[in-house]
Symmetry: C2
Subunit: 460 residues, 2 copies
């Protein structure tokens, strides 16, 4: 049902005219995310309270218009794209850090708080919020929770779901629900909190989040290592972990990534290396000192052709520069990319990368892989030029072959970006049909009129 | 509907006569758990495969007889007690460790594997499965997952839910469902895995579990500290955590617990101490050495009247003896106890303990508290003598006052034992009504005929 004049006026009376718009330019501004997907909503709302959101969803439930929750619009799977018109619900006004409890190590935040802002606020008090998606400088905690965002530190610290203790959410019917606890442990009833985490804005609009915090590690230190063969890098990862060191990050770049970064920044990276590992350890100063030496030794033992151990903050920054430059460097190779975030059991990374290269060769495309070696979560980038005949369709074909490869290796289609629009069609490739049927039934149960973020996750 | 002769014969043809019984002695053997609750089933089944369980649940769904999944029967909330007759489904034959993957740090187990057996098997390979409920020597991993068991190491390592990557479960309709992933990250669809974790055998029968493992810490070392005032101990906990040390366990005993243990074992514990802290750190040898000294310093700074730092394994064992002796020691005080496992934000522990003592005084009862100071999960034991007029009803009254106190302090009614039969009546005291309604709807959705573990979790 289209969002007609009566509904618009009802929304205006809930929100006030200043917080609702249907101006064409506004509609366009809130129709896209970080993917190539875009849509045009019929209106955009900027609610200021949980109660306003409740009133809006009651209206939507009654009149059956789509409501699409949106944080910073930095999602990587089209999750906040209004693909069926309706009302985009922008949560940027709900941006307060409501509490940082330094005795009980928890924070209570509204969904519009930017990840980095919370990190800085808690670190100033000697605390630590580990989840660090690459988008942390601009993505919001509401979006992080909705997508169950991961990040580089997941290998040691886990993902967003591991830090969410409780939520306030507005259900698609407009009911306001409080879940979870304020304690680290809590097993009263079903885990409705984690049912909402990663539900991509399809089961409820999250309006308050209680997060677990940790003590802030005293220091951290990165080590960089190059390997002529991918297998050596993979063995080094196992060697490090079995040696009792659990690094806070364990990142890798494949050869095309290394070359792209080197051509872009001229950092002196060896173009012949098949893999680069960036391993950061954190903790107490003396422990970090000792562990970083052990990491370097493990890499050398497994045949690293070169290693660098940061002695100063400037050197650490230099080491991280290589990792951070990958994404911008890629666009110098080809104007378009499809960025997938599959995960495989980490021992299968070398085989996965080799098969991706075979797929690239078969389709005459460039495929560049980098990501989280510690947890097997690889960002696979299929690079192409939309303007060149047939490249885009070959790229789409390559993505399907990548998915098949990943599933054959015991992996998953998304480690941290979610399904959204981008992978909805492929959901049945991975999920057991009974499990998928249960998910659909849960959606129908909580959103009988399918008004909340319709068209996402499930195949059409 | 009672389990009649026809159904019994149908079960026999699924299981074989050797794996089904309705002998009175057998029925009694499988009618209780670690609480005072007991019931009598109509039959007891010992299935050997997922497929047999599926066939049994299809039969139960059709003929509407209760099925009660059971691991070791060591539950602390009546979760596996057959309170409405029916069939007890004993999972002890499904007791194989199917895989330990030393490259990808994961294990695949059947539900009947005893926690300790998995711990020993993975530690022999340099790996580590952290969840350590006090029952770990006999409780099964299926039960641990069904209850989302915690343990002493939760303060550093989290609880069972944090280690479950995927499940095979048989739904109440008999359908076999596979959930989750084999990778640390995975965000494909809703988190049905964690919906089953902690669902206390009411949403599905878990038949296979994929668990995340960690590298085994090199060593561990306990520190014991006594405090004349409870507040000092609570401040020491904060001081330790803010100092950047995250202990693997952070246990406490209150004064009645200390006295009970001392009267029982004569370890030389100071009877005047209001609190004892047992703090264990783990990790690399040198780090553990340094951190245990820092822990002792923090305790001394906050006024500990005595500390002991284990120098040898024998000394470590001695220190742990005090903590392990609490439960047996309590029964020397009074013949009966009600053991609750509430949790409060850890800064509220002193206030909680003080209020519990006021409740004890008001009802002329003995209340003994000990547990996990790091995460606020306290085992509150209301001690009484059933044979003495009025004590039991006063104990029940005291428990209700304890619950009210805990909720007023921002806590939860169960940190790790679950709701089962024991706390079902109190569920609405804690849960938001919308959240509770959602839980009930999920139960109805997956188990429309209410055949799986009926009478548990939800108030009658």
């Amino acid at each position: 049902m289209p969002l007609n004049r009566d509904i618009y006026q009802a929304l205006e009376s809930i929100l006030g005219a200043a917080h609702l718009t249907d101006q064409e330019t506004d509609l366009q501004c809130y129709g896209y995310d970080a993917t190539a997907y875009a849509g045009l909503p019929e209106a955009v709302a900027f609610p200021g309270t949980t109660e306003e959101i409740s009133a809006i969803l009651k209206l939507a439930h009654e009149h059956r218009f789509p409501v699409i929750p949106r944080g910073a619009g930095s999602g990587m799977s089209g999750g906040s794209v209004p693909c069926r018109g309706g009302l985009v619900l922008v949560l940027s006004r709900l941006n307060r850090i409501l509490k940082i409890d330094t005795l009980n190590f928890l924070a209570v935040v509204e969904p519009g708080v930017v990840n980095r802002d919370l990190q800085q606020a808690v670190e100033a008090l000697g605390l630590f919020y580990p989840p660090d998606p690459a988008s942390m400088n601009f993505s919001t905690l509401g979006g992080n929770v909705a997508e169950c965002a991961g990040g580089a530190r997941a290998v040691k610290y886990g993902v967003t779901r591991d830090y969410v203790l409780g939520l306030t959410a507005v259900l698609p019917t407009g009911e306001i629900m409080r879940t979870g606890v304020q304690t680290v442990k809590g097993v009263v009833g079903y885990d409705v909190t984690r049912l909402l985490v990663g539900s991509e804005g399809t089961l409820g609009v999250i309006t308050e989040i209680t997060l677990k915090l940790l003590p802030k590690p005293e220091t951290r230190r990165p080590v960089l290592a190059f390997f002529n063969r991918l297998d050596q890098a993979a063995q080094a990862v196992v060697e490090i972990l079995h040696g009792g060191v659990l690094p806070s990050t364990l990142e890798f770049l494949d050869q095309p990534s290394i070359r792209a970064v080197e051509d872009y920044l001229h950092l002196g990276l060896p173009r012949e290396a098949e893999a680069l590992l960036l391993i950061e350890v954190d903790g107490e100063r003396q422990e970090v000192e000792r562990q970083s030496l052990r990491v370097r030794e493990a890499c050398e033992k497994l045949g690293a052709t070169g290693t660098r151990l940061a002695q100063t903050a400037a050197e650490a920054e230099d080491i991280w520069k290589a990792r951070r430059a990958v994404s911008p460097a890629l666009f110098r190779l080809r104007p378009n990319k499809i960025n997938e975030d599959i995960a495989v059991p980490r021992s299968r990374i070398p085989e996965a990368i080799r098969r991706f290269q075979e797929i690239a060769a078969r389709h005459d495309l460039l495929i560049v892989s980098f990501g989280h070696a510690g947890d097997g979560n690889i960002h696979v980038n299929v690079m192409y030029d939309q303007k060149r005949e047939g490249q885009e369709s070959r790229a789409r074909q390559a993505v399907e072959e990548i998915f098949k490869t990943v599933l054959a290796l015991g992996g998953t289609l998304s480690g941290e970006h979610g399904i959204g629009l981008a992978k909805a069609a492929y959901l049945p490739w991975e999920l057991d049909p009974v499990n998928l049927a249960v998910m659909k039934k849960i959606k129908d149960l909580l959103d009988p009129n399918h008004i909340l973020n319709p068209g996402k996750i499930f195949p059409a």
